[in-house]
């Protein structure tokens, strides 16, 4: 796990709001990055630490929701905390559906914001951990041969060795060898674990 400070990215065009959020977030030992526009955020180099995005729903030149969609398309998975003025209910609904963590109405309580930020960071941390695990699995999966992948799929589908041999027109011994290879390469200690791995890889037939 990374030992870096969690990073919070604040995008708000109001300088005094940025200053307030800056001192508040720094006072709880967060690494704060301030941006006055989405464009500025996109152009900046960001640390690869767990973190979240704090954003005003009404950004100059672009609505926060549009920006949220853009980020999703670009594969930026940072959790987003929206800050809004009141009277933006439809927008709140849209933002939450699109995966916003929290939607705060100004003037919000400082503790509420901090709680939301920590929750978001925790979520990001979990997501990152999952991503690391998944990446490792994917790397292992890529090492399997074509035949081993076929065997893997049938094993997680719950077939016995005999059935697999019949289906793939192999001898039972050969199936056993492939199966042993799969278990070894994937680092699975049991069939149950292998099933869970396949689940995460979202392989066809694993359902």
């Amino acid at each position: 796990m990374s030992v870096e400070l969690p990073a919070v990215f604040v995008i708000d065009d109001d300088p005094s709001m940025r200053r307030s959020l800056d001192t508040l977030l720094r006072s709880v030992a967060l690494d704060v990055h301030l941006f006055s526009s989405p464009q500025e955020f996109k152009n900046a180099r960001r640390p690869e630490a767990p973190g979240c995005l704090v954003l005003d729903v009404r950004l100059p030149g672009m609505s926060g929701i549009t920006f949220q969609e853009e980020l999703a398309k670009a594969g930026v998975a940072l959790p987003i905390i929206f800050i809004s003025g009141h009277g933006d209910v439809p927008m709140t609904v849209r933002a939450m559906k699109a995966g916003a963590v929290e939607f705060l109405t100004k003037p919000f309580d400082d503790q509420v914001l901090l709680d939301a930020v920590f929750a978001a960071i925790e979520r990001d941390r979990g997501r990152r951990r999952d991503a690391v695990v998944l990446a490792a699995l994917q790397a292992r999966y890529r090492e399997l041969t074509e035949r081993e992948r076929q065997v893997l799929q049938l094993v997680v589908a719950g077939r016995a060795n005999k059935q697999i041999a019949a289906e793939l027109l192999l001898s039972v011994v050969t199936v056993k060898v492939h199966r042993g290879q799969v278990m070894r390469k994937m680092g699975a200690k049991s069939v149950a674990e292998l099933v869970r791995m396949a689940d995460r890889l979202i392989l066809p037939g694993s359902a």
Binding site: D14, S16, S20, T23, S63, G85, P107, D110, L114
Partner: protein, 495 residues
């Protein structure tokens, strides 16, 4: 000829009668002179000429040059035939010739002089008639301020008959507080200066006061000395009354306009409630966040005083910001009579944008401003001019609310329009106006909004016009409308 006839006061028969009377008298006088010469025992010699000369003098005096000559024409041959030797013949003995010719010359001369005198008297009479019939009071006074003449209008205006005031000091016409003014006027007259059309107050016989316009000129005699003054006074009380009435109407109108503008302003602010609430919530949120941060900075071990201080500074800044927002709104909702002050229009634009920018963003409208930093200052009512901008901005927001296929853009431009005016443009990319509604948008109670009462733009125009400017609207290319108004830069604002 025709036009001359038209100007004649009397009809043709009357003129003919006048001619007949003058020449008839001339003929009668000539006949009478010759007849008396015949029956009266005049001594021989020049005595016979006395009566004809008298006849010529009388007819010329009465009838002018023509009748004088006519009498001469009748008397000369008559004398020659009956009285100048040789008698009863149209001949003159040589030693009588000088006397005879001197007689004719004298007659012509006398006719001429009498006629001149008559003309002068006639002219004086005309002038007197003009003075007498004038609508203005015409009074003359001598250098001691004693009234010497007094015309009919003076009688009518001041209530004194001529007989009552001639010989009295002119001071009786001055109310007590104007005696000094009268003295000053007399002083200027003494120096030969003229006092032109001053507006002042005089007192009537019954003690009531009278507004007059007064012109006083020195009367200068043949030697060039100032011997008196002529005063022409015009009664302007009617005009003053009208002016006062007009001013009162104007004031009432101005008050009504201010009242209506106030209502419209409050209603416009109503449309901005959401954005204004945000403008307050923004600094409040900042204050809460900074206060929380400050507390945490002080709770660390050791406390971070510098950070805590910075957080406090943030709180103060946000507090001031919220206060400014409230001050802006309070100013706009205040009911006040319009007042002129020197102002920088760009500053007013920024003030209004501080209240409306959020509203623009709420409607996904891009704001562009091009404010000319060299804009001259102008004179105007700050609040009403802000209202003009708010109305135009709200109007633009409304016009763009249905636009989804192109960017919503609002452009505000301020620039100089010649040396004496400021030019402002508010341009939107909304639905625009067709020629028909372009004429109508400024009419009161014309509206295309479902919830509007249609006084916004009409008030906007009346405010601009009350500032001596004009407001018009035209289509913007390729979409939308552009409202333009100019405001004059007054001399006082320039300095």
């Amino acid at each position: 000829m025709r036009s001359r006839k038209a100007y004649r006061a009397s009809s043709l028969p009357e003129v003919m009668r006048g001619v007949l009377r003058r020449y008839g008298l001339a003929l009668v006088l000539a006949g009478l002179a010759l007849f008396l010469d015949g029956i009266l025992p005049f001594p021989e010699g020049v005595g016979i000429y006395q009566l004809p000369i008298a006849a010529v003098v009388l007819s010329a005096w009465y009838g002018g040059r023509g009748p004088g000559w006519f009498t001469t024409l009748v008397c000369a041959p008559g004398l020659m035939y009956w009285f100048v030797p040789p008698v009863n013949s149209f001949e003159v003995l040589p030693h009588h010739e000088p006397a005879y010719f001197i007689f004719i010359a004298l007659c012509l001369l006398v006719s001429e002089f009498s006629a001149g005198r008559r003309r002068a008297e006639h002219q004086t009479g005309v002038l007197a008639a003009i003075v007498e019939s004038s609508d203005d009071a015409i009074i003359s006074k001598d250098m001691d301020g004693i009234i010497t003449t007094w015309n009919a209008s003076a009688e009518r205006m001041f209530g004194y008959a001529a007989g009552e005031v001639i010989g009295k000091p002119v001071k009786i016409l001055a109310p007590p507080d104007r005696v000094d003014e009268m003295r000053a006027i007399l002083e200027r007259i003494r120096r030969g200066e003229r006092v032109d059309h001053i507006e002042t107050v005089r007192r009537r016989k019954d003690g009531t006061l009278l507004d007059i316009s007064l012109t006083v000129s020195p009367i200068i005699d043949a030697n060039g000395a100032v011997v008196g003054a002529s005063k022409i006074a015009r009664d302007i009380s009617e005009r003053k009354r009208t002016e006062n009435a007009l001013r009162e109407t104007d004031n009432a109108l101005e008050m009504a306009r201010a009242e209506l503008a106030h209502v419209a302003r409050v209603s416009a602010l109503g449309e901005l409630t959401t954005s204004i609430a945000h403008e307050i919530a923004q600094p409040l949120g900042g204050m809460i966040a900074s206060a929380g941060a400050g507390t945490r900075w002080l709770s660390t071990e050791p406390p971070d005083i510098a950070e805590a201080r910075a957080a406090l500074a943030n709180i103060a800044a946000d507090g001031k910001r919220a206060r400014d927002v409230i001050a802006r709104i309070r100013a706009l909702t205040k009911r006040q009579t319009p007042r002129k002050e020197t102002l920088d229009f760009n500053h007013e634009v920024l003030e209004v944008l501080a209240l409306t920018e959020r509203e623009l963003r709420r409607h996904d409208i891009m704001l562009r401003t091009q404010l000319d930093s060299t804009l001259p200052h102008l004179q105007g009512d700050r609040i009403q001019l802000q209202q003009v901008l708010i109305n135009l901005i709200l109007n633009a927001i409304e016009a763009m609310s249905g636009v989804n296929d192109r960017p919503r853009e609002l452009t505000i431009v301020s620039t100089q329009d010649g040396p004496n005016a400021v030019w402002v443009e508010v341009r939107d990319s909304g639905t625009g106006l067709d020629a028909k509604s372009a004429e109508k948008v400024f009419e009161a109670f014309y509206t295309t909004k479902s919830n509007g009462i249609g006084i916004g733009l009409s008030i906007t125009r009346s405010i601009v016009e009350a500032h001596g400017g004009r407001l018009c609207v035209s289509p913007s290319e390729p979409h939308g409308a552009v409202f333009r108004f100019s405001l004059p830069v007054t001399e006082e604002a320039l300095s």
